[in-house]
């Protein structure tokens, strides 16, 4: 095994981790602020991919199509999230957690059939523009161009989330609500609106992950099942509600899988799970401090 192959492999693994990070950051943010593990987060990711497909197909021209899809599909998903939150979820905040979780499960069941009704069962696919097809090489490392783009997307989202939670008023309040929601209520802030915003941001990230992954995969029913369980594991090993934890968890996931492929390709699938169990046995509350 030569060193450049190993490095290339790591980079590809990192680019995969970026998608996982974007999706699980959204899950983690909602979990932190609302204390709801959103079971339909995976469905939103799937919807993001399908909407991206529809937009790209409508635009026709690949470069414009992809740009529009990545810009608009997450917004559509965020809108779905907003509607669900305002019409239904917002009436349940006083209820028990179990009810909230079951509610999100119910929405998942409905959304999955809605996707089937709207887009049918055929496999869909987005062709990236010519500039993003094929391999890019730099410093002797070969990497698919689109994966290079993904490598950039992860840090952008991480920085944007940091700015949002630290430099905007509403973001700071959301972060405070994650730590102590009574306190925020006492300060006379409308907690319900903070929750709505946090939920919509989480949904946006799910949609963004779906739109970004769309050009690399076949967009089909069932793509929600894998991502949701991985996102749950990542959020758990990272520390519930901690966005940086989601980043650490995603990297652990992506890199163990990538390295696993090189050292023991037959059982590479098991590596991320193995890493998860080792982390959880050592630190049942996750690597980073949970927000609650």
């Amino acid at each position: 095994m030569d060193l450049s192959a190993l490095a290339s492999q790591l980079l590809v693994g990192l680019s995969r981790a970026m998608i996982l990070f974007i999706v699980s950051a959204g899950l983690s943010f909602v979990l932190g602020v609302l204390r709801v593990p959103n079971v339909f987060h995976g469905s939103l990711y799937m919807i993001g991919a399908f909407v991206a497909f529809t937009i790209a197909a409508w635009a026709g021209e690949p470069a414009l199509g992809l740009a529009l899809a990545i810009a608009a599909a997450p917004l559509v998903v965020a809108l779905v999230g907003l509607v669900v939150e305002r019409t239904l979820l917002s009436h349940l905040y006083q209820r028990e957690h179990l009810m909230l979780i079951l509610f999100t499960f119910g929405v998942m069941l409905i959304l999955n059939d809605v996707v089937k009704l709207v887009w049918g069962a055929d496999y869909r696919s987005i062709l990236p523009p010519a500039a993003l097809q094929g391999m890019a090489s730099a410093f002797g490392l070969a990497l698919p161009r689109y994966n290079a783009l993904l490598l950039g997307a992860g840090p952008v989202v991480a920085v944007a989330m940091w700015l949002f939670t630290h430099r905007t008023r509403v973001g700071t309040i959301a972060r405070a609500a994650a730590v102590d929601r009574e306190m925020v209520g006492v300060l006379g802030i409308d907690v319900s609106r903070v929750f709505a915003l946090a939920f919509v941001v989480g949904c946006y990230l799910a949609g963004l992950g779906g739109a970004l992954v769309a050009p690399t995969t076949s967009i089909s029913l069932g793509m929600d099942h894998t991502i949701i369980i991985e996102a749950f594991l990542i959020v758990t090993i990272g520390g519930l509600g901690n966005i940086w934890g989601a980043l650490v968890g995603s990297l652990l996931f992506g890199v163990t899988q990538s390295v696993g492929l090189l050292v023991w390709p037959q059982f590479a699938v098991v590596f991320p799970y193995l890493a998860t169990v080792i982390v959880l046995l050592a630190r049942p509350t996750g690597l980073l401090r949970s927000v609650w």
Binding site: L92, R95, L98, F105, L240, V277, L280
Partner: protein, 320 residues
């Protein structure tokens, strides 16, 4: 979230006997498919009952209960097909293996509370699921194990039905006694106020682990009964979606009542059978029903019915 603890009244016992008698006579009059559906309801119902011991009575976020169901089913399947064990030994090993899995997973989970408990359980459960999915030589991977050789008497639906009826009735009885036992009462006290129980010297964790182990044992029992009925096992038996479905059954029937989850399982299985005939959008229907329940009937069908009956009973001066 309090369950009134009452001594089993004579009328309740009478109703239980009547129900048992009706169930026992059912195969004589009912069509074969109805017998099968009823058997499936009993198996699923036992699974939901066992979940409710930890969920409703223990107040624990048991998010991945299906794992114990799957462990029970797979233990029997693997023991008989790969190990060549006699079926009866497999039937015993299944629930015991599930209880062992409950001990392991429970031991880690009870160190955490509420949502963290649930998330950790989903993680650990998913690990078991991926092992089952990946370990082809033993578990058959995603294909599962089919055509499991069991005693001839179980080859007919009616034979399997009677075994299931007997075991489920016995298990439900034992669960009922456990809920009413000092252990069960302490468990409910821990659910309502763990801190106070701790201060008066109750070993909270030990009780919680105990409850998880018992619940896992009966989930494993349901698992081996599933194999008795279908003679097949699949990885879906320990997939997280099934865990949430059992949750829905408990909610649907009402998790503040002992028999509610059984009723919820009956409704879900019957709904699936009926709706599945007319549409392939049945999951959407379940989703809509679930959301309606959460909004309008959070205590479930049984819970709501009980509340109504109690209100009326109080008005009529209580005939009980």
């Amino acid at each position: 979230m309090t369950v009134p603890v009452r001594r089993p009244a004579r009328a309740s016992a009478g109703a239980a006997v009547a129900l048992l008698a009706a169930l026992a006579l059912f195969p004589v009059v009912g069509p074969a498919f109805a017998v099968y559906v009823l058997a499936l309801i009993l198996v699923t119902g036992l699974l939901a009952l066992s979940l409710n011991l930890v969920l409703g009575y223990g107040g624990l976020y048991q998010f991945h209960h299906a794992v114990f169901y799957g462990v029970g089913a797979y233990t029997l399947a693997v023991a008989v097909t790969r190990g060549g064990w006699p079926a009866w030994l497999g039937f015993l090993a299944g629930p015991l293996a599930a209880a062992l899995a409950g001990l392991l997973i429970g031991w880690f989970c009870v160190r955490l509370t509420r949502l963290y408990f649930g998330m950790l359980q989903i993680s650990l459960g998913s690990l078991l699921w991926i092992v089952v999915l990946r370990w082809y030589p033993v578990t058959g991977g995603d294909n599962g194990i089919h055509d499991i050789p069991l005693p001839a008497v179980l080859q007919s639906v009616v034979g399997a039905y009677y075994l299931i009826l007997a075991v489920v009735a016995l298990s439900a009885g034992v669960l009922y006694l456990i809920v009413r036992s000092p252990f069960g009462i302490t468990l409910q006290a821990i659910r309502d106020n763990a801190q106070r129980c701790q201060t008066v010297g109750v070993d909270v964790r030990a009780h919680q682990i105990g409850a998880i182990v018992i619940a896992a044992f009966f989930a494993g029992t349901a698992g081996v009964l599933y194999v008795a009925l279908e003679r097949s096992v699949f990885p879906n038996l320990l997939f997280w979606v099934l865990s949430l479905e059992i949750f829905v059954m408990c909610l649907l029937g009402g998790w503040f009542t002992f028999a509610g989850p059984m009723l919820g399982a009956a409704l879900m299985v019957a709904l699936r059978t009926v709706i599945g005939r007319y549409t392939d959008l049945w999951t959407m229907f379940v989703g809509i029903i679930l959301i309606l329940l959460i909004f309008f009937m959070p205590e479930g069908v049984a819970g709501t019915a009980l509340a109504r009956l109690r209100a009326r009973g109080a008005g009529a001066g209580g005939r009980g």
